[in-house]
Structures are given as C-alpha cells and as structure tokens.
Amino acid sequence: MDRRHLLKASLAGLVGLPAQAQVPRVPLMDRPFNLAPIRAHTDRIYDIKCCIRPFRTKGPRLDVEQIGDTMVIHNYGHSGAGWSLSWGSADMQVQKAMSRSPKKIAVIGCGIIGLTSALMAQRAGAQVTIYTKEQFSRTRSVRANGSWTPASHMALASEAPPNLGDTWERMTRISWKNLRQYIGMAGNPLAFADHYYLSDTPFDAALPPPPPSPVPVPEYYELGDRIGDITPTLQMLTPDLHPFPVPYARRTTRLFFNFSEYGHLLISDFYAAGGRMVMREFHSPGELAHLPEKVIINCPGYAAHDWWKDTSMVPHRGQTEWLIPQPEVNYGLTYRNVEALSKSDGVMMIDIGARNGLPKGYGSSNEVPDRAEAERAVKVMEELYSRFPAKPV
C-alpha cells in the first residue's frame, strides 16, 4: 500500500465510506489504468440528436396480419432495445415469412429493425426490397443511444403478453450470437468498453423523492434475471483504484454499436446480396396489398403510431449530444444522471434523468433537439473532469 493509497483510504474513512474490508479487493488484472480524461466543454458539441423510442405498452408487435392476399408480418415496438434485439426479432419474423416459401420479400422501413430483417430474409434465400421513406442514416434508429440494452422497457406490466419473457430471451440470445460475427472487425462496428458508475453518495442510499408526475408513472414488465450468463457483473472500485474524484465507483463492461461502421457494413451487405431499396411513403395499410411482394415484414418503428393507428405506441423522447471524437478515451461513465460514452464518431452524452419517478421523456413526442439540455449534460461532465487528477492512476 503506497502513501497515496493510505491517504485516500484514510480520507474515505473520514467521509464515512464503508469499511474497506467489506468491499472485495479488485485483482491487479482488473485495475483500470491509463484512463484519458474526456474534454467535456460545450463548444465541443458538434451534433445533437433527438428521437422517439417506439415503446409499445403491449410489448413488441410480432403477430401476422393478412391484408387481401398479402401476408404482413409485424416487427416493431422494441422500445429502447431495437439495436439490441434486432437480429433475434428479425430471425423470428423471417421464419414466419419463409413459411410461405416466398421468392421475394418486402421490408417496410429502413431503421435497424428493417435493415436486419432484410438481411435475415436475404440469408434465408429471398430476394428483398426495402421500401422506406428515409435512408438509414436519417432514421430514428441512428438518433438513438446504440448500446446493448436489450431489457430497455419492453412493455407495461399490466399489458404484457404472458409469454413476453420467453420471447424476449429468445430474441436477446439470437441477437447476441449474431452480433458475435461483427466483434473485432476492422473499424469496430461493435465494441466493448468499460463503464464506470460514479457517485457522491453510496449506491444504495435512498433517492430523493421525484417531482410530481403529470401522468401515472409506468410500471414496466419485469424481465427478471434471464441473461446473467452473458452479462458482466458490477465490480465495486475503491477510490485508490480509479482516477475519478468521487468516493463511490463501480464498473461493468458494456457492448455498444458504432453507427457509422456498423450501418455501412449492414447496408453494404444488403446491396451485395442483391437487395433493392425503394424510396417511398405509405399512407394506409391497404396500400401494402398492392405491392408485388406478397410477403411483407413491417418495420415502421414509432411511425406505426400514425400509419397503422397503433394506439399502444407511446412516444418516449431521448436526446444524445455528441462531442468531437476522442479515440484515446476507451470507456464510458455515468455520473449525476448523465451518461457519457466514447464512440468512434464522437463522445456521446445523455441526460438520462433520475432513476425514480416518471422516466425522462416518457410520453413526449417532441423531437426537436434541446441545446440547453445538451449543455447541462456536458457541464456535469466538465465539472467532474475539472477535478480529475493531474496524474491519473
């Protein structure tokens, strides 16, 4: 134990930290090193992206509907888990599509659910046309967080179908296996990064009461602990082991998507397999019956609220702010309800809101970027890094 460690340990004792003996020692191999600081300044914000998560109170829509002589297989409403569940959901829905032995399949929508559905259908042997009103880079998907968050608010507890847990686990596990092929590829379309949760107070301290909510706070369907075997656990870090100027820290490792590389890869694969993209907007479900393809996978995301009149879709606004990329930063962190993650195309920050009360943005379909919110989030990180030690651990 060096002098610095002793000093930190004694300071920790003064501020009432739990006794060191209660925290398992972190083995040498797990200790963080060379953590570069994030240059958190508002003038480094180069983009603000805003989107609506397609939360569906009844859980993702995966049923099959017949419109005239056309089979429509729904694939939407994955809430904040679209990126994570996309391959598993696509696999399930393409299996349904292939039951008709179609030579041609149409996919409606080109977000991450539509694109993976199209690729899965191609891999199953079909010729695929995507009909979309927006190219991939302009879809709501690319305005999302893009992290492995498969359990992000799947349904309301009161409206979830009885088998949702099993369906979700299947989607999650198939997605995980499919994502495996992209890990380690040039450009890192998918990457793992350590994520630090930092706090000024103990993690089990009671949260302050949330502000009164204008609408009932949603009670989400509990998925339970189903994927513990593929989920890294949280490690408690004592202050001597990390450079962050906070008394409480814990760490896990998270998987995330780099939009530019991953999107480019999927679209290239789609075209390489003979895929066709048609820019088009549909105005009523009946129009689908007039497409030449008689098997259609419907992936409209939140747009189902309006064009399919799906009243179980509830908008859930989310905003991400993007700072100039810092490839030397290879981690993410959460502090005072702001999350930061260094991605290939920028350091992403999000005000995730309080952990209790009405989830931030729930019920809001306001998709206009809020510069003030972005600056508030960046300033939380700026304050944290202003206290960052000159010589990190």
Binding site: H283, S284, G286, H290, H305, D306, W307, E367, V368
Partner: protein
C-alpha cells in the same frame, strides 16, 4: 404513373367497401383559394415551421414538405394527407388543430408545391374525391 393507376381506385374501394360514383377531381383543378392558403400560411408558421422550417425545406431529420413531398403523396387521395396531418401532427401534440385549421394548412401546402388555387375553399368533407396527382392529368388540360 403506373402507381397512381393501380392505387387510387382500389384503395378507395377497399376503404369504403363501395365504389363511389361521385365525379373525381384532381388537386390540379383549383381545390383551394388563395385566401385559405394565406390563413394556412399563418397557421403553418405557428404550428409547423419549428420542425419543417419556414420555407418547408425540413431538416436532416424532419421531412421537407416540397420536392419529394409530391411523389411521396401522389397516388393517394387528399383525405390521406388530411388524415395524417390531423392525427399525427404537430408531432409533439398530435391532433391539437381543428379540421378547419388543418384544411387551411393543406391549402398552404398545395400552394407551396405550385398547385394552382381556385375559387372554392378546401373543406374536410370532400377530400376523398380529390386525387393527389403528381402532375396535371391530361383530361383536365384545356
């Protein structure tokens, strides 16, 4: 062209269950007035321009309401656009505007896309019989 031919009539039959005998007209037949479009312009600036822009050009994320607006909506009848605007817009408070206001906004959108005005105002009642044609149909040319 092919799209318009095979979409317009069958959709109408599907959605109503009966074939409608009323004479069909086109958006090119002067289906709104200049005064109505002017009212629509004011409403547009109040409720729509924040996202779609004062000149209707949209943003990277928000669709433009000129240019591709025409091919995206052509082939339908005007009630489809009216229904969408009435129920889905404004995005942050869908359905907040009344039928009269939405009809006025539609008139402004038509004018902004260089569809000629006429002498009769657009009303929510007869929109099903107005074809959204991307170009002036030959039969209407004189």
């Amino acid at each position: 062209m092919r799209l318009r031919n095979f979409l317009a009539i069958p959709v109408l039959v599907l959605t109503t269950g009966i074939a409608i005998a009323a004479p069909r007209i086109s958006i090119w037949d002067g289906v709104y007035t200049d005064a109505q479009a002017e009212r629509g312009h004011t409403l547009y600036m109040q409720s729509c321009s924040r996202c779609h822009g004062a000149n209707l050009s949209g943003t990277f994320e928000t669709p433009p309401l000129t240019g591709r607006f025409m091919p995206y909506w052509s082939g339908s009848t005007l009630d489809a656009l009216f229904d969408y605007v009435s129920t889905a817009m404004p995005l942050d408070r869908p359905g907040a505007l009344g039928a009269g206001a939405n009809a006025d906004i539609l008139a402004f959108l038509l004018k902004s896309n260089e569809i000629p005005a006429g002498s009769k105002e657009l009303s929510a009642g007869n929109l099903k019989s107005i074809n959204f044609d991307s170009a002036k149909p030959a039969r209407a040319r004189k």
